[in-house]
Subunit: 154 residues, 2 copies
Amino acid sequence: MALNLKQYEAVRQIFTSYLEQKALRKTSERYIILEEIYSLQGHFDVESLYVHLKNKNYRVSRATVYNTLDLLVECDLVSKHQFGKNIAQYEKSHGSKQHDHLICTDCSKVLEFCDPRIQNIQNTVEELLHFNVVHHSLILYASCKKENCENKRV
Amino acid sequence: MALNLKQYEAVRQIFTSYLEQKALRKTSERYIILEEIYSLQGHFDVESLYVHLKNKNYRVSRATVYNTLDLLVECDLVSKHQFGKNIAQYEKSHGSKQHDHLICTDCSKVLEFCDPRIQNIQNTVEELLHFNVVHHSLILYASCKKENCENKRV
DNA sequence: CTCGGTGCAAAGCTTTTGCATCCGC
DNA sequence: GCGGATGCAAAAGCTTTGCACCGAG
């Protein structure tokens, strides 16, 4: 909910540089969307972002939301995930620690974890296949051992 | 293209057990779809599988293809991937070595690689978060170092 | 004979596209 | 003022659903 102003200032700066570098226009919509994203916690999909914006009475269209998200993903301020469903999930990524995701097979909740060893795997594959790894997605699908898993219900 | 009969026999057996265990009917469509999948190489999406079946003059519907794929994924004979797009990709998984995927950011080609260290990461996370990892998805997005990458075109 | 499974087509959802309008540069 | 970007709505693409019929058990 709350926007970290100091962080937003930095992020806004990065976005501005990116837009200038690509000779794209600095429209108010683009900044409104960026600000909204950085005031959200956790993962979100396009529709919920759109609704959030509408609720604040901003006049934006889905098309612009999609377009802007693409830009933000490209300049690394937002990351995009496909958690097995057909709905793309996004999350702000500036200043966040590199992390991967675990999805609970009982309740679909998404947890985060860090493991530096993923880097070693990337390095090996880079050498072996002669590629430069740009980014990765590691998702573990796992069931909760605890009986009290929120939604042990399926 | 060619179906490995010995493998198919084993796979058919597994599917049959699964259907019996779940008290589901052994319909001809289900076996036709299984057979077609195991005669395909590499990844495929629902539409191409459907077209393959239609070309062989089988009377199947997309609904049945989707339904059967769900069953096959559940009994581990087929694995499902979301390679960043909204089209689910599938591949036969029985008898194949555990592997992960690298997607070329230049030409979208999908390569496979194996790295046992992913297992270590899973073990650590299992302990740390108290989950049982059922399966995982690791995708590396990487650009080809070689100038002669098939489609260095974007 | 029952009722789960199927085919077909329509509906549902997410995402993309076309076009007139708007506004950053 | 030009041309990129937007809003809106329609269209597209993948997947699910409703319904009448079929066929496995």
